[in-house]
Amino acid sequence: MAQIVVKNVKKMFGDFTAVRESSFTIEDGEFFMLLGPSGCGKTTTLRMIAGLELPTSGEIYLDGEEISQRPPSERDIAFVFQMFALYPHMNVRKNISYPLISQGMPRAAVKAKVEEVAGILGIKDILDSPVGGLSGGDRQRVALGRAIVREPKAFMMDEPLGALDAEFREHMAEELRALHDRMGATTVYVTHDQLEAMQMGDKIVVMNNAVIEQFGTPQEIYDKPATMFVADFIGSPSMNFLPFQGKVAHGSETVRLNGHDEAVPTLLEGAEGDLVFGVRPEHVFLSDASAYRAKVLAAEYLGTTQIVTLQSPNGELKARIDARETLNPGETVGLKFRSSAVTLFENSTGRALRSALNDEVLSNG
């Protein structure tokens, strides 16, 4: 098991930049998520760590050893493909034993090891079936078996749940996380599904347009987004953005939003011009006392909570409130925001302004 350090790695395909200089560290035993929309460079990053693509520049360290230009066979990394890529001309047993055969392991040892892995994954009964007729979940388990059988230093997984139907995904995600906890192996996992990333990951890297937007724990990324992209991409419904014109100074604790002073975490930098007031739906409350008024447009009932869409002087926003409150479309209500959870952004760059809330996270990201 190992630590992986990615340092200033860059990948060009001709004139196209797939990954701009990126650096992050994956600690030993971490379940690490590479999250982003399709085409953002997350899969390319994963493939560079595995050795299926060579970086144009930069270094990759596996357990302190520089490996960025080595062939995949010399890296001791396992890879689970989105479409599983089980060898179609071999049965399950041969598929799982294939990596061991390449190492020249004696037959008896291979057999024992394959049985052991099949036991862990619960696929002992299908060991001698061809891979063609297997269900999606069993294919997934065989692919995992092929990955864990040789006990590699790290696992790469490229949207391994992407090919499964929704119902089964949930179950497999749990199984995968349990397997990781049991083996304690460093795992790098690519996904475009923010829920999956939040649910399974110890750490998340959010990528967009070949650039790393933020790097941190799920809580940090959710509560303290570094950019508007992250704030928008993570969470469902995503963070509300209320654009406003204004000026804030270092040390100020309020901003002027449509003529009202709204409290924010103490700012640690000043800014002026097009700004954005960012607040998650669960940090928006109804308060008759508040002078900040908004009109109810619609309400979505979700059981314990409801999502209310409101028209405020600064644009549309959503609030997650108790399902028992009754609200009628067209009604006007007062709004309050949880001041400690507000993030201000610079609209032109999308960057979050430093404040007492996010200073620590932004300094290390």
Binding site: L52, S73, M83, A85, P88, P99, S102, R146
Partner: protein, 312 residues
Amino acid sequence: MSSFSVTEPSNRSKWIAGFLVITYALITMIPLVWILLTGFKSPADAISYPPKVVFDPTLEGYVNLFTTRTRQTQEFLEANPPQNWADEIVRQYDMVIVGPSKFGERFMNSVIIGFGSTFLSIFLGTLAAYAFSRFKVPLKDDLLFFILSTRMMPPVAVAIPIFLMFRNLGLSDTHLGMILLYTGVNISLAVWLLKGFIDEIPREYEEAALIDGYTRFQAFYKVVLPQAATGIASTAIFCLIFAWNEYAFAVLLTSANAQTAPPFIPTIIGIGGLDWPAVAAGATIFLIPVMIFTILMRKHLLRGITFGAVRK
């Protein structure tokens, strides 16, 4: 299946389709049946008009194909009674068998050159197709076009340059020369067809093998080749059929040593008048290897020529 099913053909359309297929098959088989029957006719029956469909079968054509014979005097024939059934057949023309004909040798030449060039075309074609399919080859499109362009003119157009080249290189009338020539013609077909098949194989299979600790070449022959078996088989059939049937270059470039069966079979006509049964016998035997090869590969061929349409 309900009678309103859209995907299942109705009984009537099945009957019509079956009738058309069988009719077409019969029409295409008539020349083959004709050749097969003529091989068992006597020379007189073979040229009779109207053609005889019912006749006394004889092995005369096959005996004439495989032997050389001389006419002998009555005294000699009486002094040497026939040794076997073949002898008896030729005695009706006052002839005796003096030895085997060249047909066996020519047939073996066809086997060596046909299968040799097919093997070489497939071997080189698979490697080239893999490289074109997977690697960034500089000027890839131009190279592929250039390879195909060798097929854009009739072979006869290059016959004289090739004849001169072969003479200077000492390749005229050699097995090696003919194998190289047919490989040269077939390789464009092989590269293009195989590239199509290999493009269809997802790269993830090789990548999985690379990750599993195999080299690029091991991944190629342990994972890609078994997947490409269908394509290789159908390409091999096309290559073999071309090399097996090729006539123009064989006439021009081979004579005593490496002559193949196609230029040899017509020469039988000249041996003792128009011996059509012997020619037909030669053609029948000549068909057999390709038929066997095609039947063996039939399953692959069917899937192969519809490649891309359905993935198994």
